[in-house]
């Protein structure tokens, strides 16, 4: 996903969103010059929005973004849905097949698997349904646009944030660090880990001494494996956790092991209410924030534009931001942390 940074930047994208918003207010009908949709008014556009699972804050935020775009433009969203778990590939394939039968104008999809969904995505695309992928890629060219976090860049940002936290506490960006992955073999997590390892190379005095795998468990095992890292490497200066559950597990492990927050730093991906409280209290030094709201919002906006027959940029990096104790109350951090309340209209 090296090409994700290209074509279209965040500011430009927001400009596009604003333009569309203005369009809906003034006219209520879609771009007249677009031949394929000339007869169709904006409010008649139908779409299906499928995330990996509805059972998580992250995806709920993503859906909220999609719904905000829908409400703002008065579209007919047929369905916002997802499988019962991120591991349920067959469940998501069935949802996409169902969506195909409903003949929507466009589909917004966060593919659960980079390979298993390919054939289904091809079918949707060939049926003339505009296909907007969000969050995770698929090994197919059958899509109109792809909006996602650049996970490698996110991992690099985590490395920088961790190194700076270590420097702030110990006076030098030096010492042993370790990282913990939620589940080996997941593309986005592998990219984050690789980004972290690449990013940490900029700090020659920091050495990565260990890594652990929480085996995909969301509650107990992350605590256990981080505890084991703390036991194994008593001089550890920092830990990187590559998703919400490993970051929460790491924070709990730090507490249970009486790790001194003045000596050891913790940085990881994705926020929760509890982690934000930990951040403000200094128990967590950095949370890498993605923008699932923007993925949902932008996914629908891109879908509209594509359905109007206008070529949309194929890749959009929705960006990563590091929340730290210092910037926890800034307006950007707040908007990313509280997308439901802070961004009623989708634009921060």
């Amino acid at each position: 996903m090296t090409d994700r940074n290209g074509t279209f930047n965040r500011a430009g994208f927001i400009g596009l969103g604003s333009a569309l918003g203005a369009l809906s207010v003034s006219g209520g009908s879609l771009v007249a010059s677009a031949a394929s949709a000339a007869e169709k008014s904006l409010t008649d556009l139908k779409f299906v929005f499928i995330v990996k699972t509805v059972n998580s804050d992250y995806w709920q935020t993503c859906i909220a973004g999609g719904k905000a775009a829908q409400a703002q433009l008065g579209l007919k969203g047929l369905q916002f849905t997802g499988a019962n778990s991120e591991a349920n590939i067959q469940g998501q394939i069935a949802l996409v097949e169902d969506a195909l039968a409903k003949k929507p104008d466009f589909l917004v999809l966060a593919p659960t698997s980079a390979n298993a969904l390919d054939a289904t995505i091809d079918k949707v695309y060939k049926a003339g349904i505009k296909t907007i992928l969000i969050d995770s890629s698929a090994n197919t060219e059958s899509f109109d646009a792809f909006l996602a976090t650049d996970n490698h860049a996110g991992g690099m940002l985590a490395a920088k944030t961790l190194a700076e936290a270590i420097k702030k506490k110990t006076g030098a960006a030096a010492g042993q660090v370790a990282y913990v992955t939620f589940l080996s073999g997941v593309g986005s997590l592998t990219q984050r880990d690789q980004g972290f390892l690449d990013g940490i190379k900029a700090y020659p005095q920091i050495t990565v001494v260990g890594h652990q795998d929480a085996g995909g468990d969301q509650s107990q095992k992350p605590i256990g494996v981080v505890s084991d890292l703390l036991t194994r490497f008593p001089k550890l200066a920092g830990v990187f956790a590559d998703n919400l559950y490993t970051l929460e597990g790491a924070a709990t492990a730090f507490r249970e092991n009486h790790a001194d927050p003045k000596k050891i730093s913790l940085v990881g991906f994705d926020p929760s209410t509890k982690l934000v409280a930990d951040l403000k209290a200094g128990a967590v030094d950095g949370i890498i924030l993605q923008d699932p709201y923007q993925m949902g919002f932008g996914g629908v906006m891109y879908g509209i534009v594509a359905a109007a027959g206008i070529n949309v940029p194929k890749f959009l990096n929705t960006g990563v931001t590091a929340a730290t104790p210092d910037n926890a109350n800034s307006s950007l951090t707040q908007a990313l942390l509280n997308p439901m309340t802070q961004r009623h209209f989708g634009f921060s």
Partner: protein, 331 residues
């Protein structure tokens, strides 16, 4: 299997001598493996014997240990309870919701445990009265409870600002984590119930020969309801403890834990064909998996190695068991 037991219906509630001694030998073997592992890790793994690491291990094994004890009761009746992981998640979400709405801890705790017990009873009722296979009933319940857990949790983690509840999981009593005390107390009570009471003997009798037990006048329904209710209650307790430890309710908590619990019970000598198993064995099974995972982590092994070794041990133990059974059958 069925030939062996049906040949000796009178001996069901009291296993024959050779079987007992082989079981003792197997438990002893398990204990020796645990001790040997502990010695190896003490010598090789930095920090293995540190007080903090012992504490970590004790905390880490409490939840699976409590689940596995409930599972042991069920497995001895030749049943299985696949719903314990979901029951754990369900109880945890209910507790988090109750606390976040300001309900007092004792009331919330009592209500959640009553609900978990009733749901366990319901499992037992379907299995006994409707004569449905335990695998199917509890597999159905696995899905149903997880679904409700997600709906109640609205797909999100639920925080609650109740430090008295979370402190329980973080604090020690006499230098030992309270989570581990809970496991020890539950194990002792369960061992008494299972091995020293008439009800406990009936649990074994049902697993040995259901029809025989019925004809011998054992209240099969009562015992079936009893074991599934115990399993439900213990999964409920495990859910409360995990919620306290995580300081939030997580709608995905406990996913897949039923398999860890079953594996631990089987490692500890419980037979999926029924009539065999012990609380001490299950405790040792949980301890073995925990020490193994912890030690290999401390030795910086690839995280996947622990899973491979656990799987291999499980198969090896069950193989030894079957080898013994075949020898008995041909003798």
């Amino acid at each position: 299997m069925s030939q062996i037991v049906s040949g000796a219906p009178a001996a069901q509630s009291r296993p024959a001598r050779p079987r007992l001694s082989w079981e003792v030998a197997l438990r002893l073997g398990l204990l020796l493996i645990v001790i040997a592992l502990a010695i190896v890790f003490t010598l090789t793994a930095p920090g293995f014997l540190s007080p903090q690491n012992l504490e970590n291990n004790e905390r880490q094994m409490a939840v699976i240990g409590i689940l596995a004890i409930g599972e042991t009761f069920v497995i001895i009746t030749a049943g299985i309870d696949l719903s314990v992981g979901s029951m754990l998640g369900f109880s945890g979400i209910l507790m988090a919701l109750a606390l976040s709405h300001g309900i007092a801890i004792p009331l919330a705790l009592g209500a959640v445990l009553v609900i978990a017990t009733l749901l366990g009873l319901f499992n037992g009722l379907l299995i006994d009265t409707a004569a449905l296979p335990p695998f199917i009933v509890t597999l159905g319940m696995l899905g149903i409870l997880r679904g409700f857990t997600q709906i109640f949790g609205n797909g999100q983690q639920i925080g609650f600002g109740n430090s008295a509840f979370t402190d329980f999981a973080a604090d020690n009593f006499l230098g030992i984590p309270q989570l581990f005390w809970m496991l020890v107390i539950i194990a002792l009570l369960a061992a008494y119930l299972l091995h020293l009471t008439r009800r406990g003997r009936h649990v074994f009798a049902i697993g040995s020969n259901l029809e025989g037990a019925r004809r011998a006048g054992i209240n099969v329904r009562g015992v079936t309801l009893f074991v599934y209710a115990i399993s439900g209650l213990l999964a409920g307790i495990a859910g409360l403890l995990l919620t306290a430890r995580q300081a939030q309710g997580d709608p995905n908590a406990g996913t897949g834990y039923e398999l860890d619990a079953i594996a631990a019970a089987v490692l500890g000598g419980a037979s999926l064909f029924g009539a065999r198993g012990s609380i001490l064995g299950t405790f040792l099974g949980v301890l073995l998996v925990q020490i193994l995972t912890n030690g290999l982590n401390l030795l910086n092994f690839d995280p996947q190695v622990a899973r491979i070794v656990e799987g291999a041990l499980l198969i090896a133990f069950v193989y030894m068991d079957h080898w013994r059974k075949r020898r008995l059958a041909t003798a």
